[in-house]
Amino acid sequence: MIKEELININQEAEKEIESSNDLKTLNEIRIKIFGKSGSITILSKGMRDLSNDDRPIIGALINEVRSNLENKLKQKEEFFKNQELLNKLENEKVDITEPSKDCEIGALHPIARVIDKLTDICVELGFSVVEGPEVETDYYNFEAMNIPKNHPSRDMQDTFFISENILLRSQTSAVQAREMEVRKPPFKIICPGKTYRNENDSTHSPIFHQLEGLVVDEKISMADLKAMLTIIMKKLFGEDTTIRFRPSFFPFTEPSIEVDVSCPNCHGRGCSTCKGTGMLELLGAGIVNPKVLEISGIDSKKYSGFAFGFGLDRTAMILNDINNIRYFYKNDVRFLKQMK
């Protein structure tokens, strides 16, 4: 009899739990079963009237039903709590398209970023980063670079003078002699920095940036130059970058070359950046003229070297698709903002 009653209670309660709608009804169901006058409580109380034989059997059965129903109640309760949490979270939702707060970052200048990148590349390759004065002597800027006073090669650069022998450096090459005087081969140096020329038009700024590289050791050749520049350019513009040499003239290198770099924009197919040629004229380079080594006290019979120099403004233009050199020194935030 009790057995049937228990099964009945179990079935009824399961149904009620299943169909309950909220924590409150669930609680009412709990009281109805397990409360002071709950059905299971009453049945448990009636245990003492049972025979010794029946008591353990019925007791076990009651426990089974109790734990079953407690489980069901717990499950349902968790379900409701979960539901409630979901509702709460849903109500707390925000419009994620609202603007962010208080973490507006600025941006580095594109030329400074090119300098950062190139110096990292070159330091990795064993170059030391050096600097020289922007106001230089005629000696370091010209004479030590095999450009004597009143020599026609001075015409290659319109120079700003302070006085007869003091000038604004027209090339970062000015730093070569200063370093050669104090360093012992083998050495590799780069020098990034500002340079000045007395010209100002739509494609020339009187102030611009160059990076000079110099390597001196025994038996340095044009092939070494090719190898080193290829590595640097690949690291700067991407693995598929290639370079090409063309003859040129600089008083401080012999042979002298212009180095064309495959256009990183179109990969050599031809585009507006490279004016359809697929190549960009980016560097001047060459084998250090033995006269230049000798002027700075390096034995040109034992040592040779290569040097390269390139325009960082142009490099920054290529890397960032900038088409107006004037933007660099205006510092308009509308320009800088685009390179965050």
């Binding site: 600025g106 941006a107 580095l108 030329i111 300098i115 950062d116 110096t119 330091v123 064993g126 170059f127 030391s128 980063v129 600097e131 922007e134 106001v135 020599h151 026609p152 290659m156 700003f160 003078f161 302070i162 006085s163 022998n165 003091i166 604004l168 083998p186 590799k188 500002k194 000045y196 009187p206 102030i207 390597v215 050791d217 038996k219 340095i220 050749s221 044009m222 092939a223 070494d224 090719k226 190898a227 590595i231 690949k234 290639t242 090409r244 063309r246 003859p247 003239f249 008083p251 012999e254 042979p255 002298s256 070359i257 084998i287 040779s304 020194y329 205006k330 510092n331 935030v333 903002k337």
Partner: protein, 797 residues
């Protein structure tokens, strides 16, 4: 340097498409910057003859012409008034596309068909100097003997191809057609043709050149002076072929004698000067330095004051020519000249360069002299000119040539090492190719063991050593050998240690921090206007600006002595274009002049500026602290005396008694000078000094096992009491229990009293040995308060 293809063909046996030649020249270092086809706009224009002219039935101002153009007769309507029956004229036919943009089509004019147009000289791109009649206002009337139907480019010799070549300063020898021709020969392995230097001498006259002129060279700047004389000169227009050559390379034809000197200048690279023999005073030429006070009126109609630095060609009285640069009016050839003295000279290149700069006069002559004309060239130049004089029958060449040379002209022997050349190039060039390349360049080369014995001709003064030979060899052998080289070949100098630059590294860290704080990096012109010192109210050494001797303009004539100027200008500019909430910074140099003859002091600074409504002094202070905290600096802040900062709202940063920077609110007067708001904040730190500090080291102390306890304390003090002093006092009262103290609120209100402020501190205490009890904490707080009351009159709030 412009050369024409026909001219090159006259000196070499070259006959390849112009584009191919141009690309070959470029690949060998003679960069062809432009190829100009002279007849680009002359197609469909022919020589025609007007057979008949009738009035236009519908228009008074037009006439209808029947024109013979060789293969047919066409009808052309014109408004031109200088045409007549029988006139030979240039006729542009349908399809023509003239230099002024006019495209010719068949058209009806007032109902009558017109099949073309007659052309003026201007429409053909020529002027009176080039062709008689080309300058008239109207149609170009051609000579009667021109063959009807001839294309006009042929008839007027306007069918050449011009190469505009960039010549590098080491190749003065290529400032001539013959120089380029030599390169062409070397490129194609062909021989330079012999240039005709023969001329007839007036053997019937007993006169010699000495009867017309005597030459004295009194200056060391003249290496060679040659003079020839020509009599019975008949000044007239040069033949068309000569004018065509000069016109093609951009030189205005003038008369036969002047044209010959220009022709030789372009062809041989030898400047010549033709004097009117009757205007050489005393028949005496003196090559000398000018005397102070002498003057000359040059062919450009300017009068120049001369001095001892200027070399002149003078007669017995006065300078006639600024040597190598420009001739004088008085002694030049004119239409009546009958006797001419022809000068072919070689001058010191520096002397010519200095003079050309001094007067700002650059001529075809000075351009060549200042790059260097070799001694031998004067001789061939004079001979070539006399050849032209005699073959064009402009006059009679007098017996004898004066030749005064102070320098000798010799080939030099340069011995090149094959192994060294290969070592420089890093690739093996076959020896036989080396020898043939050098020989083709006119450098007679023979092989002796592993050496190249090179006989370098005088015009190649640039060839001195293995490196020079290596360059000649590789540029003609072709730089494309390197295209095939594996880039991993680099073998040498790889064991060097790469050292970053300490200051650049520190600046990089600063720059990245500022970017995270919303600042934009600027790079400004270091060149500024002189008024920067006034605008910034500077009163110290920073008023000693480094000034350019040759500025482009006043606004970029000095080097800045402070970054503040650049950044204030950038703020001003950005505001003017509508950018707001500006936070900008720049790493760059400032310059302070010592004297114009020594290098200035260059300092590296990081400057930052903010013009932002949320910004104030303490925000800026936080950023400064953030940056300084990156270094090992221990610094103190003192009230700043920077003239461009607000005296009450600015601080100087001091490390070891040295000022390394300052920051604060901009001075209101400075704000007005830059036309920027008053609430602009500026700070700068000397990164050069900071980079010299040792690297920041940390000494970590043991931390307590017991929790931190904290208490808040609010006090009221007089306004002038400094928070910094209160914090120090609190610290010392805490003794070894001190962990941290922070000011978290400042409150000012009438109810706490006039000139009073309420300050709330959060104090953190910690003991290494035990958990502090409430009582112990209260004791400390009482001690703090007592001390604050005693020293600073603080009262508990």
């Amino acid at each position: 340097m412009k050369v024409t293809y026909n001219w090159l063909k006259e000196l070499t046996d070259i006959n390849v498409p112009a584009e191919e030649l141009a690309s070959k020249l470029t690949s060998a270092g003679m960069e062809v910057e432009e190829i100009i086809y002279q007849n680009e706009h002359l197609h469909d224009v022919v020589v025609g003859k007007i057979l008949k002219i009738e009035k236009h039935p519908q228009a008074d101002r037009l006439v209808v012409c029947q024109v013979d153009i060789g293969k047919e007769i066409v009808q052309i309507i014109t408004a031109a008034t200088n045409v007549f029956e029988g006139a030979v004229v240039p006729v542009s036919l349908p399809g023509a596309d003239l230099v002024n943009g006019v495209k010719i089509q068949k058209a009806k004019m007032r109902g009558v068909e017109s099949c073309g147009m007659f052309c003026s000289g201007q429409e053909l791109g020529i002027d009176e100097n080039y062709f008689e009649g080309a300058g008239v206002d109207g149609i170009l009337i051609l000579p009667n003997d021109m063959k009807i139907g001839t294309p006009i480019d042929q008839a007027l010799m306007l069918n050449d191809i011009i190469f505009d070549i960039g010549i590098t300063p080491n190749r003065a020898d290529c400032m001539s057609v013959v120089g380029i021709a030599r390169e062409v020969c070397a490129l194609y392995g062909i021989k330079l043709k012999k240039i005709n230097l023969n001329y007839d001498i007036d053997i019937y006259s007993k006169e010699t050149v000495r009867d017309f002129v005597n030459v004295d060279v009194e200056t060391q700047n003249c290496y060679r002076y040659m003079a020839a004389a020509i009599t019975n000169l008949k000044i007239e227009r040069s033949p068309l072929w000569l004018r065509a050559r000069l016109n093609a390379v951009g030189i205005k034809p003038i008369n036969n004698m002047v044209d010959i000197t220009n022709y030789v200048l372009i062809e041989m690279g030898q400047p010549l000067h033709a004097f009117d023999g009757e205007h050489i005073g005393g028949k005496q030429i003196v090559v000398r330095q000018a005397k102070f006070g002498e003057k000359i009126t040059a062919l450009n109609h300017n009068t120049y004051d001369l001095d001892e630095s200027v070399m002149v060609i003078a007669d017995e009285n006065k300078p006639m020519v600024i040597a190598g640069v420009i001739g004088g009016m008085d002694s030049c050839i004119n239409n009546e000249t009958s006797t001419c003295v022809l000068e072919g000279a070689v001058f010191d290149l520096k002397s010519i360069r200095v003079t050309s700069r001094k007067f700002g006069v650059r001529t075809d002559s000075s351009a060549r002299y200042e790059k260097g004309v070799n001694i031998a060239n004067a001789e061939v130049g004079i001979a070539r000119a006399l050849h032209l004089v005699s073959s064009l029958k402009c006059g009679k060449v007098v017996r004898g040539i004066i030749d005064i040379a102070t320098k000798k002209n010799e080939s030099r022997k340069v011995i090149g090492s094959i192994d060294k050349i290969n070592e420089i190039l890093g690739v093996e060039i076959p020896t036989k190719d080396m020898v043939s390349i050098l020989n083709n360049l006119g450098i007679e080369t023979t092989l002796q063991g592993r050496n190249l014995i090179c006989n370098v001709p005088p015009f190649r003064e640039d060839i001195e050593n293995d490196n020079d030979l290596a360059e000649e060899i590789i540029r003609l052998y072709g730089y494309d050998v390197y295209d095939k080289i594996d880039y991993k070949l680099f073998k040498n100098a790889y064991i060097t240690e790469g050292c970053p630059h300490p200051r650049l590294n520190l600046e990089r860290a600063f720059r990245n921090m500022l970017v995270m704080k919303g600042f934009y990096e600027n790079i400004s012109y270091t060149l500024v206007s002189q008024d920067m010192t006034n605008k910034l109210l500077l009163n110290d050494e920073r008023t000693n600006l480094v000034k350019l001797a040759n500025p482009i303009s006043e606004d970029i004539s000095c080097l800045r002595s402070s970054l503040a100027h650049s950044l204030f200008q950038n703020v001003s500019y950005n505001l003017s274009v509508g950018n707001k909430n500006l936070k900008l910074f720049e790493c760059g140099r400032t310059f302070i002049s010592k004297s114009s003859n020594e290098l200035p002091i260059e300092n590296n600074y990081l400057g930052m500026v903010a013009c932002d409504e949320n910004f104030d002094f303490f925000y800026l202070k936080g950023i400064i602290e953030l940056l300084l905290n990156k270094t090992s600096a221990t610094y103190e802040l003192v009230r700043s005396s920077e003239p461009y900062l607000h005296p009450g709202i600015a601080a100087d940063i001091i490390i070891d008694k040295v000022k390394v920077g300052s920051f604060g609110k901009i001075h209101p007067l400075v704000a007005e000078n830059y036309d920027i708001p008053h609430n602009v904040f500026y700070g700068e730190i000397n990164t050069g000094i900071l980079a010299q500090l040792p690297e920041k080291k940390f000494h970590v102390q043991n931390i307590s096992k017991f929790p931190i306890v904290e208490r808040d304390l609010a006090i009221v003090v007089d306004e002038e009491i400094k928070v910094g002093d209160l914090i120090s006092s609190i610290k010392s009262s805490c003794g070894k229990l001190y962990y941290d103290v922070k000011l978290f609120d400042i409150y000012r209100n009438a109810n706490i009293g006039e000139n009073k402020k309420s300050l709330a501190f959060n104090i953190k205490l910690s003991d290494m040995e035990k958990t502090l009890t409430d009582e112990e904490v209260s004791q400390i707080v009482n001690k703090i308060l007592k001390s604050l009351t005693y020293k600073y009159g603080a009262t508990l709030r």
